[in-house]
Symmetry: D2
Subunit: 344 residues, 4 copies
């Protein structure tokens, strides 16, 4: 149920509606737009009589639609959400490049890559300290030490950092040191982790499951918003199909589907989405031309010796060349790379 | 690396090999067969010289093969593993029927279904107390209360129980009350949960991810075995494909692939695998004829009022009719329903 | 539009309805059931007034439903269709085993396999004379000569033959020499070929496209029936999915979907459906237990020297062992192997 | 087997090699490059002794590699092929926009769309006269009459035309009236049709099957080239996956895979690839940014009344806006829209 209120509603009027909702077991989530204010009520609104709210002050309309993901939906917020990661804005007109190594291997390595990302024009430093690996015998990441190395490198080069949390223990560490929490494809359905992220104050980068529909991705995001954290950026990273020329099939149309259904930003990961270095830059260009709100790219200064996924990492020079093409591409979809600080 | 030893090796001889392995950073996992004993060494055996072990007492051969999942592989254990759930055996010649409601709804409901499962000839009672749901607003299960109701129903009707754990908190409760831990399709890649299950003493029912290959399923099982728990039963439950006449596409050939590659038992869930009641019993028959080691079936005494997935639950009478057909089917693949107690 | 008439309607009464339908641009296809006669009208019945027919003699009801595949649908014919291939019945209670080499290689080879199929208890001899191959440089079949060899082998051992037609030229030859026309997976959407088959008097074995839904399979069959040939048997042969342990994923639930939606028989091809010899027999058993109306199996007396697809052909002895298990399996789904001649 | 010859080899020297190849049952296909000339030998070159050719005049090297698609492969021709359609070049630096209605409905309709395509800056007029439809009761196209209307509209507005052939009969008509033959997704495996196209002198637009791999697409093209027609343009049009937010999943990475493996041009069809109007223009932009050699787009002046696939047709004004963005996009991948005539 949506309670549409005047954009001029006072805090007291809003509070009154929220209190009445609470009285019938519902929780009110306010979305402030330019032209109107929407209170999305979650819980079991089916059984609640709309007339409870219809005559309250500043209430314009009560919409009794049944949205599968009310907080994530464009129905509650017509305007694009902009998520702040450190001083970097993602969403709406703000395009962000997140780049870095698949895994943090050492202080020296992450420092070298961070310098290169900064010089290439990237905005956010990515790097895995806790790695979800199919095999228990594969390199599982440097853990806390890797996280601290990533944080130090980010600070030194003025880049906010994003890194993956695998469970509540690693989430706690990530929350201490990072600027954005990544939830990986394999954990998109890990509802305990999603809820824990929802109780954090950091923005969340939520990757689509490799076997998940767009609707399931939005429902996973809804888990985070329902706990009170609205700073969510979605990420398309390729799905499982019969096609065997790439590791996954990058589904760029998912960007459009998400942007139509939701106010949340969505970025694209062409590194995991293709699994092949020579396809990363062209697919990145494709993602930008389609209208993605950012890119998540694996960069390594020495890909052939990377401890994980080296075959899909591009060189810093390739990243720099890509970033130089971005302004031209972004001009076609009404986005830009500039003014991150001032817009924040 | 596999150390093949005589079946008559003494504990002391085995211990000596394990100690030497430990000295070079490897962990030894013994697999006792009728004709030989295999010590599978995990860690980074690539760099270890085989001659370290070759001349030790009772060592017949050192095999330097690189297995992606050494503990789960048939290479270490040629004979089928038999997993004990309460007094029920699963694997090898022992076929087990696990049945019950999708979700535990109330004491009365789970008691009624348990009685029906017992009468129909089922062996293990299933039922969800903690439910992983795509939507945060769907029924999430009765939690601890549901778990206790399931346990009581199981005890009353002499059925061991299996129920899903979603995270470490629910795992702790499941370990207290259940006979078998279920790891659901959405958590097959939740490595923190898999490792925690590996540290439990209960058998684990591990379901294939809906977007996962058979190799990934075996690697997920390897996570559990690597932590010391070998009591793992795998489960095929349908994969994501373009086909739209069922909710998922049940991949019965996965049963054969698993049985060729691994010594672990594999059962089939035709309820989630089809999502449609009228397809459950025929697909169950198909699974048995292919050679599955058991079935996991949703049964409800009043499917049209079920709180979750009612459209795929069969009636107790349908379960009973299916179980009556099992002896005939099982005779074709050298399995049977009898002597569970004595074989335990 | 369906015109439901009394089962006792006279030819004259039926003709009168058909003539009136023809007058408004529709074609009437009669389906005789035990309890009623249904005239399915194809064309553009949307614009036609039902009252045109409602008061005619022997007309019980005019059903104005919009069926995507009116002639194939169970709505026009509640009873299972039985298709006759030579003296062999397929459909309803009649189960048929079609077996033989992937490709006819020589007179000697097909004769040897035919003898083995006969001895093993198979009913229909399969073998490709015109082979659709992904590569223009792969063996394309023996053509007319192969077809004649197949026909001779079938005659000698009393087995009707089924073989693939690729285009109108090969169709003409197939119609001269074979007892059943096979339309392969790659041609399921070849509408020119389907229409040409619809104008033949031979039964047609129509295989599901590897990227096609069940609905598309039924629509492809509708093309054949719409041209006047109702002798169609469908075949599930595996679909394209991400799973990589088999060549295709055999979708046994398609058998159930077809049987629910259509009166046509459906058989299963576990050879192409798995692509691996050791999976063929167990998946064949699974198909029978699910309720398939028959099997299409590749058998070769010397698989390792087969000119095509040898890795999926089973030995004659394996076929014989499978056929011995069939009566037990068929008893579970109300079918049998006997009385083909008398039922014809 | 590849015979690498000097780029200065004389016709007589080439002929001598071809004759010797013919003498051992092989067919020689010459590929003239700037730096070298390659004769690809097809047939069964495995058994032929390379020394037969090694000492012949102008022969530099004999490469005995086994290519699955020798004529289509980059191994025989390192430079991009450029295909001429009327006066329009497709491939290498030449980007082409093919646009028009899904189906030709009437002279007036196709004339109006052709005028709009011309004005928007499109290069080639597309339109279906023979339509492959899943249902026998759907609109099947205007046939010969539609083809003539398309031809007339193309002539009037100076646009070469491309239209689909379904079988040998329609192919004959298409060859008489069109500038390029389209082979649709459903016919990619129709080898009889591919061979017939190989014997035509018109360029062929070959669409990827919705359930086909990139390798199968290249093998299908090889069928055409093996018959002597090298004027083939490939087309990515979406594949079948579990994703349900679009009709098919447009696999833009296939563009990159094809360009790496083959010298043939590849274009993208975002209309069928998404099935939804609002996704067509952004996905078209994505295709260009990835590096496609052209676009195939459905345009209709009155989409809501289109006889087929209206929900995926864009308006002429949307096409015009897209074409205005192309120069900017093409500049990023080294292609352009100009000088088609002079390059021809």
């Amino acid at each position: 149920m949506l309670i549409v209120m005047s954009a001029q509603a006072t805090p007291l009027q809003i509070e009154a509606v929220a209190a009445r909702a609470s009285g019938v077991g519902l929780k009110a989530h306010p979305f402030h737009g330019e032209r109107r204010l929407v209170l999305a009520l979650t819980g079991s609104p089916e059984s609640v009589d709309p007339s409870l709210f219809e005559t309250m002050d500043a209430v314009l309309e009560v919409v009794h639609l049944r949205l599968p993901y009310p907080l994530v939906s464009r129905a509650v917020k017509d305007e694009d959400s902009v998520v702040r990661v450190g001083g970097v804005a993602v969403g709406g007109p703000h395009f962000a490049v997140m780049a870095g190594p698949c895994a943090v291997e050492s202080h020296a390595q992450v420092r070298a890559v961070a310098a290169a990302v900064r010089q290439a024009g990237g905005h956010i430093l990515r790097g895995g300290a806790f790695k979800p690996r199919s095999s228990p015998y594969s390199f599982q990441g440097r853990g806390r030490e890797g996280l601290e190395a990533l944080r130090d490198a980010g600070r030194e080069f003025g880049l906010p950092i994003v890194t993956e949390a695998l469970d509540e223990r690693s989430l706690e560490l990530v929350c201490q040191h990072a600027d954005m929490i990544q939830v990986g494809s394999r954990n998109m359905h890990n509802y305990a982790l999603l809820k824990a992220c929802g109780r954090c104050r950091l923005p969340v980068l939520l990757k689509r499951g490799m076997g998940s529909t767009v609707e399931e991705l939005l429902l996973a995001a809804e888990y985070i918003l329902a706990e009170g954290n609205r700073q969510v950026v979605l990420c398309e990273r390729g799905i499982r199909t019969f096609a065997d020329h790439t590791r996954f099939t990058l589904d760029l149309s998912a960007v459009l589907a998400v942007q139509r259904l939701s106010h949340l930003p969505i970025i694209v990961d062409p590194s995991h989405g293709t699994g092949k270095r020579h396809k990363v830059v062209p697919m990145a260009r494709g993602a930008v031309a389609v209208g993605a709100n950012g890119l998540l790219i694996e960069v390594h200064n020495d890909p052939s010796h990377a401890l994980s996924d080296g075959q899909q990492a591009i060189l810093p020079s390739e990243l720099a060349a890509l970033v130089r093409q971005l302004p031209t591409l972004l001009s076609l979809t009404g986005k830009d790379l500039t003014n991150h600080a001032s817009s924040a």
